[in-house]
Subunit: 401 residues, 2 copies
């Protein structure tokens, strides 16, 4: 019996470890692989042969692993060398040395690029016994060919709760005031859009729609006039029609003649203040909290992340299964449910799943009811948790042991 | 039968509405007052006679009220005029007009100042049928004569979870990196200190200890050298020995020759980068999220906030009970428990409860085990929640109806 190897890449999520848990558990129930290894810090760790053996992880540790946010195996931003094939060769050699038949790579579009590249290299070299399987993970929900990606639901739940609670906070004083919530999302507005599930967003600014300064300021004025408050949600990747990010120094220099630290929300805050559109503007940048929240994860999300691991394990029993990423297909049923399938990683790498144009309301007014119906099931439910001294128990990252 | 009035003042908390719930519930079970009124936006609303009747709030709405963060009655920063007594007179007149015997004022030190001032005024005027009772609420935990204050426990739970999760996030990449978490806390470090419950804090900077730039930078260097990472928690109120806040423009000008937006954490980030102490520094300012979190509140905190309302109602049956604030006394038992008592609001107003010196480890290294033992029970437990579409159900603020 050969072995398998799990590695994680890119930014962490709240449920990325649940996919590892699914893989380990599946192999315990159906031992296709003799050893389930974990590589520390993604490709970087594989090339340095930094492995841990996860095969016989006790039930209790799997349970805690399920509820541990961020990547317990660590991550990397390492990209395979493309100008020569040294990395590819070395990776195959290490897999051969350790008799690793399947590499499960949990990642986003960069991760799928690695899966596709390695599968293609193996094919070209006629290596049939080293296979590469991608498991989707991204809080950004920007992977194509899948209904959505594990990691997004928990981030969306965190963000919509953050919007709701800060809106409740914003309103307690009678003074006129603008609140700006900044979410991640460089190339798509899914995270920012999820704030609309709270029902309180006045203005939504996403990368999909070029930033129209006059229209946004007019809407702020309208909100302040009507109700004394204005609640704005902005993606870090909000941009002008020419592709310049609001957060870029170039945009700041053009608008104000000087640069300042801070992202899209700081830019908007400056804009609203310097144009006297409102006299008080508070900003909250959710920063890393949105991708590793430990207290408010979505049950749908945790369950699906685990299931993706199980499915990847199952599909990998087919000896021709390589260069693929597990995908989620929403069933056409009244009650939300998904099927699992797979697509070529090569068709996913380098692509961006953005919000459909018809789901965005005109004038930065948010998202349609249809979009909310798509989003709602993804934040449903709260997983059971094992607590310790008032905080969720967690698995100590393997790279710190 | 006369009536009572509830009002909230100062910054909101995650459990401030649980105290209202306790008051309403207590009066339903033991109808001491004919009507339980709520005033919108604190003293400001009372002076404008903006009242809602909360007497017969249905059981289900009380339950949702219990789990709604921020102030459902709204708040104010209005201070009673001190150079003349017009406000005092008007307040007594309005209470008389509405036959309001007791004003329950839920607030922090400013709120207790109002309670004390009004009780004193009534005493001087020999008005015995208008009474003023304070209920403690502050995320800062800076009220004296009480073991702790409702609102703090949930904020502490939120902050310690935020520290834990962002530390897990920080570690996934192998690069050397500093993370700075900024909490609220202008005059005391309780909020920042609560992050230490996560067990991951390397450097704690609180207002209680003058900021020693060289010592802190040396410790950052040490941490980076030892483990490639350094996790810092800083109070917004961190200050130099002369009382200048790290977040002040004066401090920034002195250190860098220019000012920039952002608070204590931005200042520290600049300091670490410009002194080449570390090459990568990420910052997260928890901003308002820490005082109105809806997903991760502490059961101890919610329960005690509710109980404070019940106790205030009970004590107010004593016709001489005025100018007092309800306090919590920790019992001298192995298992955590509290008794309730009361103290003169005049002895609480204007005072600051800071962290005892002996609870702070030397060299900004955090807090002692004794301090952690004090803190731990306050973040214990997670209250049951009624959810709706994946988010906690909430009561629509009365001032928005």
């Amino acid at each position: 019996m050969s072995n398998c190897l799990i590695a994680q890449s890119g930014g962490p999520t709240s449920v990325i470890n649940a996919t590892i848990a699914g893989l380990i558990k599946a192999n315990q129930q159906n031992p296709v692989y003799e050893h389930v290894y974990g590589a520390l810090n993604g490709i970087e760790g594989i090339l340095m042969e930094k492995f841990v053996d996860l095969t016989n992880l006790p039930e209790e540790e799997i349970r805690i692993l399920m509820q541990t946010p961020s990547s317990v195996l660590g991550s990397c931003r390492y990209k395979l060398q493309r100008d020569n094939l040294e990395d590819h060769k070395k990776l195959i050699k290490i897999m051969t040395d350790y008799d690793i038949e399947t590499l499960f790579y949990i990642g986003g579009t960069d991760g799928m690029d690695t899966v596709a590249a390695m599968a293609e290299y193996a094919r070209e070299q006629e290596i049939t016994d080293r296979r590469f399987v991608g498991c989707p993970k991204t809080i950004d929900n920007n992977l194509v060919l899948t209904d959505h990606s594990p990691g997004y639901g928990s981030a969306a739940k965190y963000i919509s709760a953050a919007a709701l609670q800060s809106w409740l906070d914003l309103n307690v004083y009678t003074r006129p005031e603008v609140f700006i919530l900044e979410t991640m999302g460089k190339d798509s507005g899914w995270l920012a859009a999820s704030a609309c599930l709270s029902g309180i967003v006045d203005i939504l600014i996403v990368p999909e729609v070029p930033f129209d300064q006059e229209a946004v300021l007019a809407r702020v004025r309208e909100c302040i006039k009507e109700k004394n408050k204005c609640y704005i949600v902005v993606s870090e990747g909000a941009q002008y029609a020419d592709g310049t990010y609001l957060s870029s120094d170039k945009a700041k220099m053009a608008a104000f003649g000087y640069t300042f630290s801070g992202g899209a929300s700081a830019m908007l805050q400056n804009l609203i203040l310097t144009t006297n559109t409102a006299s008080r503007v508070r900003v909250q940048d959710l920063s890393v909290s949105q991708r590793c929240n430990i207290l408010g994860r979505s049950l749908t999300d945790v369950t699906e992340a685990f299931r993706v691991g199980e499915i990847a394990h199952k599909y990998s029993r087919d000896k021709s299964f390589t260069g693929k990423m597990i995908t989620l297909k929403r069933k056409d049923t009244k009650k939300y449910a998904v099927d699992y399938a797979s697509e070529n990683a090569s068709e996913i790498a380098g692509q961006v799943h953005t919000i459909p144009e018809e789901w965005l309301l005109a004038g930065n007014c948010g998202i349609t009811e249809e979009a909310k119906e798509y989003l709602r099931p993804l934040i449903e439910g709260s997983p059971e948790r094992v607590m310790k001294d008032g905080l969720p128990a967690f698995v100590k990252p393997y790279y710190l042991r």
